[in-house]
Amino acid sequence: MKKFIYEMELVSAEVIKKDSFDIFLLAGGSDYRAYEILRIMKSEDVSINKILLFAFQERIQGIDTSDAYYNYLKIGFSNILPIHCSIKEPNSCLDGLISLESEILTAKKIALDISCFTKPFFFYLIKLFKERFKIHRITVFYTEPQSYLFPRGIFSSYRSSTGPLTILEIPGFTGYEARGDKRVLVILLGFDGDLSKEINEDISPSETLVVNGFPSYAPKFKDISLIANEKLTSDKDVQIIFSKANNPFDVFNLLESIKNKKHNDRPFINIAPLGTKPMALGVCLFALYYPEVRVVYPLPETYEKITTDNCWNSWRYLIPLNELR
């Protein structure tokens, strides 16, 4: 087995001022942490040639220029190019990116801030960069929230979305299933209890493994995900395993160990990355490395506009795409 020493750092002035990027991608959003990394980069005079801001029509609809969404205009970068697309269809950005193909292909340093992207979207982007643009490595940034918003403090009332849910395969991560094989579903728990239930019913696996993000961003978070999904987690037959909430490489290792343990059964592995975005990043890398694995995700009718409060730690991950098949 080829081994790697992963690179992951807490973002600080010292760390970030060494950086410079040809292209920086981020998602527009009203959450405070949408532009935290940009703010830090501006304050440390980090050089960025071009900033691609993914402007989701669903987030822009119905807001005016005083909305926090437009705070990126106040940061001071003048080279921001909006890429108009839809949250629900990741490949809606394809044409916009293809028009920049020559710049992307010649870029040496590309960064992606996943803080305000939806998971299906950044999965798509990373695979696009790897498969289509043949990018070798990207720097991924992520900013933790200081807190999540729980109505009246009741953890189980957290909802990331409203309206109906449709369980989809993340585009490009369909995996392949030999029909005779057992199905295993690995659910990385989030705070929204509705999601795991829907996915478990839709996929109907013969075995469900539940991964809890632990250690979590804040100590109590490791309980909240278990409580919110209590129907699943209180079942003594469901195995709960753990992986660090802020380390995608830990998640990769865990998933690989699951796959290896079940090697003889040759199961069709389905993964639902409902947990933190760094954990989802780990899933993305794993699924790129093992394309037979399927990644499923619940697409809601409407995402809640703001689900978190303020910012806390920011992280920087160096993702070696060329090491992945």
Partner: protein
């Protein structure tokens, strides 16, 4: 400003939350009977009975309990973080990882911080098991051989006291001065920022799985617990202080003003609010603490037949 009764979830809602917590994390260790027994401690001396019940339940529903599976996982995480750090510090190239791993571990010895029978030793046992480490890598302090080892690694569960008053500081400072050219590392499950900084200052590197900051102090302005109820921090502080004083008048909010709300399956640290673990004067704890006996050296056995 809304009252406590209007603002916080109802007693029923919180009990339901705690029921789910007990089923999923606390392994059914806490039942409603125990909760009611604990709530009987609060007799309306600061606020009305109902208000005190609500605040107590609110604190309880925010208590973080680490069960055995979680502690075992943290031990695993500690080892991996240790290895990661060592590989980076020694600037290992990718194709040399396996060889270097062997070299690193052969030059490392693990010890429990503190006396035998303290929690460090307990954690050391899990640490060895879950990481499948050879027993020869675990030694007592008097067996440190400076000629054959480079890395002296201590293991503990909680490091929350910064400064010379803390056990970690005292012991590790001595070790560092005895072995100035060796890497002295503390692997601890939980530490706070102040302790980490203070130990770094004396030349000890700290690797921890959970770093506590101001958000984890119950009554701090950035407290996670009162994020949605900032208006009630002061009242709750008063409440916890009043009853905490009955249990431990020196540290009514936990050792060194901890204000923490966590515990382990094997014990509750005294940095945690005493209202959770106290037993003085008939106080019924909800998460019992097994205190260390520093005073009585004589042995008292109550059985008739020995």
């Amino acid at each position: 400003m809304k009252s406590i009764l209007q603002d916080f979830p109802s007693i029923l809602e919180m009990k339901k939350l705690i029921m789910h917590t007990s089923a999923t994390i606390w392994k059914h260790e806490i039942t409603e009977k125990e909760i009611d027994r604990w709530l009987d401690n609060f007799t309306g001396e600061v606020l009305s009975l109902d208000e005190e019940k609500i605040l107590a339940l609110w604190l309880l529903s925010n208590f973080v309990y680490y069960n055995e599976d979680e502690v075992i996982h943290l031990c695993r995480v500690l080892m991996r973080d240790f290895i990661h750090k060592m590989l980076i510090d020694t600037n290992v190239q990718r194709d040399e990882i396996d060889n270097n791993l062997s070299r690193i571990i052969s030059k490392t010895r693990f010890l429990a911080l503190g006396e035998p029978s303290e929690s460090g030793g307990y954690i050391l046992y899990y640490f060895r098991q879950v990481n499948d480490l050879h027993i020869s890598y675990f030694i007592f302090p008097h067996k440190i051989d400076p000629d054959s080892i480079d890395n002296i690694v201590y293991i503990d569960d909680v490091t929350l006291t910064a400064g010379p008053g803390g056990q970690a500081h005292r012991k590790l400072k001595k070790i560092k001065s005895k072995y100035p050219n060796k890497k002295i590392i503390l692997l601890t499950l939980i530490a706070n920022e102040d302790s980490i900084a203070e130990l770094k200052r004396i030349g000890v590197e700290v690797i921890t799985t959970i770093t506590l900051d101001e958000r984890n102090k119950c009554f701090c302005v950035n407290s996670c617990i009162f994020h949605a109820y900032q208006n009630h921090i002061e009242t709750c502080n008063k409440f916890a202080l009043h009853y905490g004083n009955k249990i431990d008048s020196k540290w009514p909010l936990g050792y060194e003003h901890g204000e923490y709300t966590f515990g382990f399956f094997y014990n509750t640290p005294d940095n945690t609010l005493p209202i959770f673990w106290g037993t003085n004067d008939g106080w019924s704890p909800i998460f019992k603490r097994y205190d260390k006996n520093y005073e009585r050296k004589s042995l008292v056995m109550h059985e008739r037949f020995l």
